[in-house]
């Protein structure tokens, strides 16, 4: 079920009413309702893959409890590895099987060999990368004794399948989300209103910004040989705003929806396009994934400790694995590699934690220096997104080749002033709201008439500029 669909517009109020009016006096019943609603939400896409979620839930619930009673180190490790193998096994099979088979065959033929291994017609279960990482974090935290394993299978099932963030995150940690299922939720007016506001902003980002940019990004990327460098640059820009509007919009809707049900999810995007260097960008983009990799991969590998070579190795591993998480394609690996290259000089010069505060904090406008830094970081990001969007690596290189040709300064063949002004207006709102968790969070300070007028304006823009409906990009990851 898509957040921007009529189905969800009907589903959400029904679940809301049942949740607060029918099951509000019984915590177990409320959690059970969340599980049922989440399974319906997921099964709407393909009910067959519900079995994967259920299986993952049972495995990690059981292993969590086995870990609790197990003191022998070796056995604890075995339990942990069972969970890792089961979870990553599903992920590996559904997401990466064909990639490895095809790559293996290509490498073999490159060295003159001939091998015939058939790839399979595998459907990628929606959201598998997200809920796999979420359940893995639970087992790892229990293994590390940072979290007490739960004995409540319903609460655990609700944690694994919580519908607002099931298919495209944010990837919640058990330490944050699971305890919220143990406590009785009482309706909080301010939280619910804030949630609705964030849903509205998320929908605007998705329906108006992302879907309108997508039309041009698709047109330009799919016919990149036909366009001048300037148009290719516009295509890359369109994809840059598409992916941001799409993914951060999804996160806003997920977080807002959770708030309607009395839950607090972590912020997933913190205005990444206002970053002054690439390290800051990665502290602000897909925060739940970056911190997941930091805590469960980068730090266990040694992080920024140890020899220089080890530090460099760790940086490349984390960025490449992060890229590979996004999809079974060399484009994502190159995208990760490129980001590692961007990050490396900052780390070597020990400047990767320079810009930890908010840009132009307590000022309206940024300084020229900050503007320059933001522009360079933004353009580097745009370049990297070309690899992310291209259908294969050679397409990405030919796209960049076309972009950096003499026609970069020609009048572009494709330019929509409506989309330009929409994106510009959107970025202005984002700039003024950058100290919040989402751009329009502090609009509650505005008198009601102005506030509501703004909400109606957003809704009107959604009706006027509804682009061709696109599935959320991150559904495929």
């Amino acid at each position: 079920m898509l957040f921007n669909s009529i189905d969800f517009a009907i589903f959400l109020p029904i679940v809301f009413v049942l949740y607060w009016f029918l099951t509000n006096r019984n915590l177990k019943l409320q959690n059970l309702l969340i599980v049922i609603a989440s399974y319906i939400f997921y099964g709407w896409w393909d009910w067959r893959f519900l079995s994967l979620i259920v299986f993952s839930t049972i495995v990690d619930f059981t292993i969590g409890n086995l870990l609790k009673n197990e003191v022998r180190v070796n056995f604890r490790k075995i339990y942990l590895w069972i969970s890792i193998i089961v979870n990553l096994g599903f992920l590996g099979f559904f997401k990466y099987y064909n990639f490895f088979i095809d790559s293996f065959t290509e490498v073999f033929s490159f060295f003159g060999g001939e091998i015939s291994v058939n790839s399979l017609n595998i459907i990628l279960p929606v959201g598998i990368s997200f809920y796999t990482f979420q359940t893995l974090s639970y087992t790892i935290d229990v293994y590390r004794k940072q979290l007490e394993p739960t004995k409540d299978i319903i609460a655990f099932s609700a944690f694994v399948s919580f519908f607002p963030q099931l298919v495209a995150g944010p990837i919640e940690r058990a330490t944050n989300l699971l305890p919220q299922f143990y406590k009785r939720r009482t309706f909080d007016y301010n939280l619910a209103i804030d949630g609705l506001r964030q849903i509205l902003w998320g929908l605007f980002k998705k329906v108006v910004i992302a879907d309108n940019c997508a039309e041009y990004a698709n047109q330009i990327f799919n016919n990149s040989n036909d366009f001048s460098g300037s148009t290719l640059f516009i295509g890359a820009l369109c994809f840059t705003f598409q992916i941001y509007g799409d993914f951060s919009g999804y996160s806003d809707i997920a977080i807002g929806t959770s708030r309607l049900f009395g839950f607090n999810l972590k912020q997933n995007f913190a205005f990444p396009y206002f970053s002054r260097d690439i390290a800051e960008f990665w502290r602000r983009w897909h925060i739940s994934l970056s911190t997941w990799f930091r805590d469960y991969l980068y730090i266990p590998l040694g992080g920024s400790r140890g020899s220089l070579l080890k530090k460099i190795r760790n940086i490349f591993i984390i960025f490449i694995v992060s890229g590979f998480w996004h999809g079974a394609n060399w484009t994502f690996i190159v995208w990760g590699f490129l980001n590692a290259l961007y990050f490396l000089p900052l780390m070597l010069m020990n400047k990767n934690r320079v810009n930890t505060n908010l840009v132009a904090e307590s000022r309206i406008f940024a300084s020229f220096r900050e503007i320059g830094q933001m522009t360079i970081t933004f353009l580097l990001t745009v370049l990297a997104w070309v690899f992310f969007r291209a259908k294969d690596v050679s397409h990405a290189f030919s796209y960049l080749d076309g972009m950096f040709s003499s026609s970069l300064f020609h009048v572009p063949e494709v330019f929509d002033s409506n989309v330009f002004f929409l994106v510009l207006g959107f970025m202005v709102v984002e700039w003024f709201g950058r100290s919040n968790k989402y751009a329009i969070e502090s609009i509650f300070k505005v008198p009601k008439i102005g506030r509501w007028a703004f909400y109606f304006l957003l809704i009107a823009l959604m009706f006027i500029y509804t682009g061709k409906e696109q599935e959320f990009i991150y559904f495929q990851f």
Partner: protein, 303 residues
């Protein structure tokens, strides 16, 4: 919770009022004329209505006989133009109606349209029968494949369309479908706008679509033959000419030939598109091209 629900209700209410005002002011959706059923069981429009096509692009009108478009100055040398939504033609201004364009080509004749969206071939003949009282010189019936299909209850059952029932060998007259609901929907402009814009997103539409897959015309030739036989025995006079829209299935042409019913086939193969980008109906250009071919045919036919 009470406060929350009140605020939500208030927000929605104010939103609906603003949206309704905006929908009416900017004419987000076309005005839809009200229908009625006359004593001959023919669905027409309530006479003397008028309204705007969406975004106020042009005005449409229903004449005092209950048909869209202008009436001729005189009923002498009359040619009737009967058809479905193509001829009804609300999406184009009056100047692009077949009757107006044909009149331009053949000033000595007077043309009168009698069209309504959803008219099947059999209903077109029922309308023709009613118009016989005006003693027309020719009766042009514009039809396409779907008009043949929708004429037979056993092929494409539709309660709101007049159809021929092969089992009873009788006409089953179409009924007005949910007239009360339609009245509300058409007058609540914003809701109608939402319906028009998003109804295709509803999942149940997919289910409906899968259930109404078209059958192969070849398999139903005997049924179509029965239909044409019925038409031949009950309606056809020498002055009827069926104008088949481009790409009409040759099976229908053969059946009409078999019963010696006069017809012509419009041809758009060597032309640019006659239709809108977003809609299969003809543009002004399409109407103009069709009228040229029809007038050519009539001229030759008169000789």
């Amino acid at each position: 919770m009470r406060k929350f629900l009140i605020q939500i209700a208030l927000f929605i209410l104010i939103g609906l009022v603003i949206a309704e005002v905006a929908s009416r002011f900017f004419v987000f959706t076309s005005d839809i004329p009200m229908r009625t059923v006359n004593t001959n069981q023919i669905q027409k429009y309530v006479p003397d209505q008028q309204g705007y096509w969406k975004m106020k692009s042009h005005k449409w009108q229903v004449n005092h006989l209950g048909w869209p478009g202008p009436l001729p100055d005189s009923y002498d040398n009359l040619v009737t133009v009967i058809g479905d939504s193509f001829i009804e033609n609300f999406m184009n201004p009056d100047s692009c109606h077949q009757s107006v364009l044909l009149k331009k080509e053949m000033p000595n004749l007077n043309f009168m349209e009698a069209a309504r969206s959803g008219v099947s071939l059999i209903e077109a003949f029922e309308i023709k029968k009613e118009l016989d009282t005006l003693n027309p010189k020719y009766q042009l019936i514009y039809a396409s494949d779907s008009d043949f299909e929708e004429s037979i209850a056993q092929i494409h059952p539709m309660s709101d369309v007049t159809q021929f029932n092969l089992k009873t060998n009788q006409i089953a007259y179409g009924k007005l479908k949910s007239p009360g609901l339609k009245k509300i929907l058409y007058n609540w402009k914003f809701v109608f706008y939402l319906y028009r814009r998003f109804s295709s997103d509803l999942s149940f539409n997919d289910v409906q679509a899968s259930h109404s897959e078209k059958s192969d015309v070849k398999d139903d030739i005997p049924k179509y033959r029965e239909l044409i036989d019925f038409i031949h025995n009950n309606y056809v006079a020498d002055n009827v000419i069926i104008v088949l829209k481009p790409n009409t299935n040759p099976i229908f042409q053969n059946l009409l030939s078999e019963y010696e019913i006069k017809f012509m086939v419009l041809d758009d193969t060597k032309d640019k598109s006659w239709s809108f980008d977003y809609d299969a109906h003809w543009t002004c250009y399409g109407h103009e091209r069709a009228s040229l071919q029809v007038s050519d045919y009539l001229r030759k036919y008169k000789k």
